[in-house]
């Protein structure tokens, strides 16, 4: 008897040739903007402007515009910060960790995911910067600059300062990683350019790339080493974000499980956002042959795995609180699930723990519509997770007379809207003017994994 190995499904379908890839991806950059794109852009710019008004209010009047009070000193601001940073974890995970594991399916999705990462990290950085109240003085407060206070240096014992270093390193290394990959693709657009302006712009963006084998060989070394550097970086960023809470003494925050639990949650929400964006991009740009159902299924599997890790973490937290015998800790968790914010806790549990379990059914995880809906539900759940951790741990503090609830004001909602406006405006600009798929990488796997060669 002889057994045949199961042949993997092709990653590029539709019998595409190398030239077709160039046409399909560059064509989107070269054509006139579609009506749907203009409409999407108009909507996101409107949101940006409305949100911008509230950002202006906040800068003019100070953070008293937010609904914070004496007891709840951190609420939507830090919730949004952690939420956006979490979303910003998928891109570099896809490009770095999946590169080290030689997962070739990452090639069709890494470009858009990395772009999303960069925009999400900018959105995240917005919140702590705005929370400073006078952000123009932020450089003096947050960076180790010589000063005339003695010198009173920044506090390197503080996780908030670690965050400054972690987020800025993560942002700049992700940006470089993304840009290195874009250079050869910009050169493709440059060499097809029919107008002088386009040739000049993409010529400058492509850094004089000529495709020499020596440069390609160095490019491969650089990608591999960058992936090796970015892998621990991705894991460190959300670890450090979680330490903002974990190194404190607040019951509900003071838990050693936070770093791995936050990292899993970040990957969970990041992949959900990648799916939300790519399902739309794929449809509008007709990229079904590059981002196949198999790609979507694999991402859904990662969502199920990380969603389950998050679920286990929620339950572990409860167990440890009860097992610790610390009354304050036990109360924080009882209050979280059954106190006045029970609805936030219930939303978090439903969205994050129950909804991704639906992906155990192959029909659901290979269906575009259900994936799209669940990807949005997951991100709603992840927002509630951060809200639950932050607000429910704070709102009933040590003196019952100062117990309070948090109610968002217009500026809380407005600034959150502003971050959405920025995120989508940036993503739509990217989708129109940059190649949305890494052409060079997809071309390099075409011969071994397209439908043509498998037959």
């Amino acid at each position: 008897m002889h057994a045949e190995s199961v042949v993997r499904q092709p990653l590029v379908t539709g019998g595409k040739t190398v030239h077709d890839i160039t046409n399909d991806i560059c064509g989107r950059v070269e054509e006139k903007p579609a009506k749907s794109w203009l409409l999407a852009m108009a909507i996101s710019l409107t949101v940006l402007v409305i949100g911008g008004y509230y950002v202006g209010q906040l800068l003019w009047h100070g953070i008293g515009e937010w609904g914070l009070n004496k007891t709840v000193g951190w609420a939507w601001d830090i919730t949004n910060f952690v939420w956006w940073v979490g979303i910003g974890h998928a891109g570099t995970l896809i490009s770095a960790i999946l590169l080290l594991f030689r997962q070739r399916w990452r090639m069709a999705i890494n470009r858009a995911a990395e772009a999303m990462t960069i925009f999400a990290v900018i959105c995240a950085a917005m919140f702590p910067i705005l929370h400073m109240g006078r952000p123009w003085l932020g450089a003096i407060w947050a960076l180790p600059l010589p000063n005339t206070y003695g010198s009173l240096w920044v506090n390197f014992n503080s996780p908030l300062l670690w965050d400054v270093f972690a987020i800025s390193t993560y942002f700049s290394v992700s940006l470089v990683f993304w840009y290195i990959g874009l250079i050869p693709d910009f050169a493709s657009i440059r060499d097809r350019a029919t107008t002088k302006i386009r040739k000049a712009i993409y010529g400058a963006l492509s850094f004089g790339w000529d495709g020499a084998s020596k440069t390609w060989s160095r490019y491969e070394t650089v990608s591999l080493v960058l992936a090796g550097l970015a892998t621990p970086l991705v894991l460190s960023v959300h670890t450090i974000v979680s330490m903002d809470f974990a190194t404190s003494v607040i019951p509900g925050w003071h838990t050693t499980i936070f770093p791995p639990y936050f990292v899993a949650g970040a990957i969970f929400s990041g992949f959900a956002m990648v799916l939300t964006l790519l399902i739309v991009t794929r449809k509008v740009y007709k990229l079904e042959d590059y981002i196949t159902i198999q790609h979507i299924e694999l991402m859904n599997i990662i969502i199920t795995v990380t969603g389950s890790i998050v679920g286990v973490a929620y339950i572990t937290e409860f167990f440890i609180a009860s097992y610790s015998g610390v009354e304050a800790e036990q109360y924080a968790f009882i209050n979280r699930a059954f106190g006045p914010y029970w609805w936030a806790y219930a939303s978090m549990m439903t969205c994050n723990v129950i909804s991704p379990q639906l992906f155990w059914f192959k029909k659901i995880r290979t269906n575009i519509a259900s994936t799209f809906v669940i990807s949005i539900i997951v991100n709603i759940g992840m927002w509630f997770e951060r809200f639950v951790i932050i607000v429910t741990s704070l709102h009933r503090d040590y003196i019952p007379s100062s117990w309070a609830m948090f109610y968002p004001k217009a500026a809380d909602i407005g600034v959150y809207l502003f971050s959405f406006g920025f995120f989508f405006t940036a993503f739509f600009l990217f989708a129109k003017f940059f190649p949305v798929i890494n052409m060079a990488e997809v071309k390099s796997i075409l011969k071994t994994t397209s439908e043509k060669t498998d037959k």
């Binding site: 190398v18 470089v176 097809r192 495709g211 084998s213």
Partner: protein, 175 residues
């Protein structure tokens, strides 16, 4: 004849033809100026006889610089210049210095290596590449042979290129 001016180009349709072609052309005694591809071709380093890139060594050294810089900065500020007791910790709370040290190591390693890559590969926004064929960034692999650096006649070189599997053999002259 002046070197680096007059080239014969072999155009190959895919990466396997190119890899076989490189071997045949080098066996045929023709010196290859450079090969241009739309995407990274695995195995081309061996075929062209490139040495392993030392960019990873550069990254390591830049990373080491980052580690030293970060530790010097933190110890200099928190321990030497203005020691303070914060949260009952030592004046030299080494564990608290690890996150920033790690981040600066990664930052310098990444930026140093990429800067080195741009410099040695002559990549810069105002760079004007010599484009041998516009299809290099689309779907063709092009092998350039410098006529001045080879003893053989143009006809002989073209024959070797053709025999190595090139789908087209062209001339390209730069002024």
């Amino acid at each position: 004849m002046e070197s680096d001016k007059n080239f014969v180009l072999g155009v190959y349709d895919d990466e396997d033809l190119l890899l076989n072609g490189i071997k045949d052309v080098r066996d045929g005694g023709v010196k290859i100026h450079e090969v241009y591809s739309p995407f990274p071709v695995h195995g081309i380093e061996a075929a062209m006889g490139y040495k392993t890139s030392r960019l990873s060594v550069a990254a390591f050294l830049f990373g080491l610089t980052g580690t030293c810089l970060a530790l010097t900065m933190q110890i200099g500020m928190m321990t030497v210049d203005w020691p303070m007791i914060i949260g009952g910790k030592d004046f030299l709370p080494f564990p608290a210095f690890i996150p920033v040290t790690f981040e600066l190591t990664v930052l310098l390693a990444a930026f140093g290596m990429v800067g080195t890559f741009f410099t040695v590969s002559n990549l810069k926004p105002w760079g004007k590449p010599r484009i041998f064929d516009l299809r290099i960034t689309d779907d063709k692999h092009v092998m350039a042979v410098d006529l001045a650096k080879n003893g053989q006649s143009e006809e002989e070189i073209k024959k070797v290129l053709k025999a190595s599997g090139a789908s087209e053999v062209n001339n390209k002259n730069f002024v």
